[in-house]
């Protein structure tokens, strides 16, 4: 049986209660909205992109502990990264939350590795990836609201 503590790790609970970079970004030049119609989670991700580099990243909105902590830790992980690095990290993160595999403990995951427990709770994968899908839409300059359904 999956253990609740695998899902609700201390770091995740802490980020959900006190999310980092949780504000609208003044001077953002790209942003996108993401929505999970199943549970009503709703986030906006703001980016300040210069050339290929994510200079700053913030988010706002409401959601469950998993989606909020994931968004919070995503903003910490991606600040200063290139678009290609962000895309690669999303792919690694996605694999982590769907399979639990960390590809030989890929160091680039860093603190994000705490989300490995999500793979034991398949219905919560969408929570963990909502902010990331929203980020992808913001990077691609999509105007439509992203939906997980």
């Amino acid at each position: 049986m999956a253990d609740l503590r695998d899902l609700y790790q201390e770091v995740i609970l802490e980020h959900s209660k006190a999310p980092r970079n949780f504000r609208e970004l003044a001077g953002a030049n790209q942003h996108a909205e993401g929505y999970n119609p199943l549970c009503g989670d709703h986030f906006t991700v703001y980016l300040n992109v210069e050339g290929d580099s994510i200079r700053d990243i913030t988010f706002q909105g409401s959601g469950c502990a998993i989606s909020k902590a994931s968004a919070s830790m995503m903003t910490q992980a991606l600040k200063g990264k290139s678009k290609a690095e962000a895309q690669r990290l999303f792919e690694t993160f996605h694999k982590l939350v769907t399979t639990g595999e960390t590809n030989g403990d890929r160091p680039e995951l860093g603190k994000l590795a705490v989300f490995s427990g999500v793979s034991e709770f398949p219905v919560r994968v969408k929570c963990a990836t909502l902010a990331w899908h929203t980020l992808q839409a913001a990077l691609e300059g999509k105007q439509d609201k992203v939906s997980t359904e």
Binding site: D41, H42, I66, R124
Partner: protein, 425 residues
């Protein structure tokens, strides 16, 4: 009536024996799924507003139909076809008696509540609602009693009006009455709210509407499993409900309509069974109720629904109503006493549902943690996003009850909520 099983505790005895004809531990044995484990824990099924579980008699009726009685209906001259037709029409008769409709031809088999409402919107609605007219619904409707009317209004250039509710989740009657005008062509209202359990005073609403000659459709999906429904006492013109929420199988539901209205309505779908004769020049439609039943119907579904009705009758709707009233009152009191828990929807008249949020904890997280305890609740907006907006929340956790639930299960839910709070402490 056997009383062999031991009462779980003195605390539950009050509800156990509300009536000598009602004994919850015996009733639970009629539902095979209730004895299974989930995630290593005893299943506590509190998601009855999404769908109810099925008693053995319903499962057996469906199996027996496919093992011994399967044939298409209304067409064959052979034994099985005649038999299946008889069983199908017997189920219709059971439905008629169950809701006290005047005539069996007023009972139309559909796929479910959603299809029943769409049927009325697309036939009665398209014939009577024009540009500038109004359709009146309430702020507590399920999406299935909002979207069909939006589609109609969009097509016709009509306006959808919404009767407001108060902070308890009750319809504000003077506001409702104010919205009834010369352009109001139909009213569609839930008998019981799926999201917060409010029981609407339908008879009173119908009276207000009929004084102005406005017909009323009632979405009864969440009422029929819990309270005795008498469509003639309510006076409503249409009443829609689903089999699967009342212990019958999925994929079948009922539209009740007053015969005079149904007669005057154009057909919904075209096909076999709904015609009396077809030529390429002209088709004559079949009589009621078959005019609205194009194609081969869900025969096993209708038979299963019939078995569910006979089962509910054997327990007695009065007993069900009384037992659940006490159970929901107990759950309301128990949950409200937990620090940080806020009930959403505190209408004085309610049925079946306790919806709640916990300060600082998202309903989705509540659902996951309760699930680990074997407790099934629904979390989210319950296909009723407008009422969530009314209460300024994205979602709730909803415990919804049936007559097979116990006080002990309410206690387990309360213990589960304490566990949720512990995880997030």
């Amino acid at each position: 009536m056997t009383t062999a099983a031991k009462l779980p505790s003195t605390a539950t005895s009050r509800l156990e024996v509300v009536d000598k004809g009602f004994y919850v531990e015996k009733i639970r044995r009629d539902f095979p799924i209730l004895s299974r484990d989930v995630r290593g824990k005893k299943l506590v099924y509190l998601d009855n507003a999404a769908t109810s579980q099925k008693p053995r008699v319903v499962i057996d009726a469906i199996s027996r139909y496919y093992e011994e009685g399967n044939a298409n209906i209304h067409r064959g001259v052979h034994f099985l076809s005649e038999h299946a037709t008889g069983e199908h029409e017997r189920a219709r008769k059971l439905v008629q008696k169950f809701i006290n409709a005047q005539d069996v031809t007023e009972i139309i088999f559909v796929r479910g509540t959603t299809e029943a409402i769409n049927l009325v919107a697309q036939t009665y609605g398209r014939a009577h609602v024009g540009a500038g007219d109004e359709v009146l619904i309430t702020a507590m409707e399920h999406h299935s009693n909002i979207v069909p009317w939006q589609l109609l209004c969009e097509e016709k250039g009509a306006n959808l009006r919404v009767a407001p509710i108060n902070d308890r989740g009750e319809l504000i009657l003077p506001e409702f009455e104010k919205l009834l005008g010369p352009r109001t062509k139909i009213i569609a209202v839930a008998h019981v709210s799926n999201a917060i359990g409010t029981l609407n005073p339908v008879a009173k609403l119908v009276e207000m509407a009929h004084r102005r000659n406005i017909p009323v459709l009632v979405d009864g999906a969440q009422a029929v499993p819990h309270i005795k429904v008498d469509v003639r006492a309510l006076g409503c013109d249409f009443y829609a409900f689903s089999s699967h929420k009342m212990f019958g199988p999925m994929g079948v539901g009922i539209l009740y309509g007053k015969a005079a209205l149904l007669e005057a309505m154009p057909p919904y779908q075209g096909g076999g069974d709904m015609i009396s004769s077809v030529t390429f020049e002209k088709t004559l439609y079949n009589k009621l109720p078959f005019k609205f039943e194009a194609g081969t119907p869900n025969v096993s579904g209708a038979i299963g629904l019939g078995a569910a009705i006979e089962y509910m009758n054997s327990i007695g709707m009065e007993n069900i109503e009384r037992y659940e009233h006490d159970l929901v009152a107990y759950a309301t009191e128990k949950l409200a006493s937990i620090a940080g828990v806020r009930l959403i929807g505190t209408a004085r008249e309610r049925a079946g549902v306790v919806s709640f949020v916990i300060e600082g904890i998202h309903p989705h997280d509540i659902g996951t943690i309760l699930d680990q305890e074997g407790i099934a609740v629904r979390t989210g907006h319950h296909c009723a996003q407008p009422i969530m907006q009314r209460f300024g929340i994205p979602a709730t956790a909803r415990a919804s009850f049936a007559f097979y639930n116990t006080q002990e299960e309410v206690d387990m839910l309360a213990a589960g909520i304490l566990k949720v709070k512990e995880v997030f402490a």
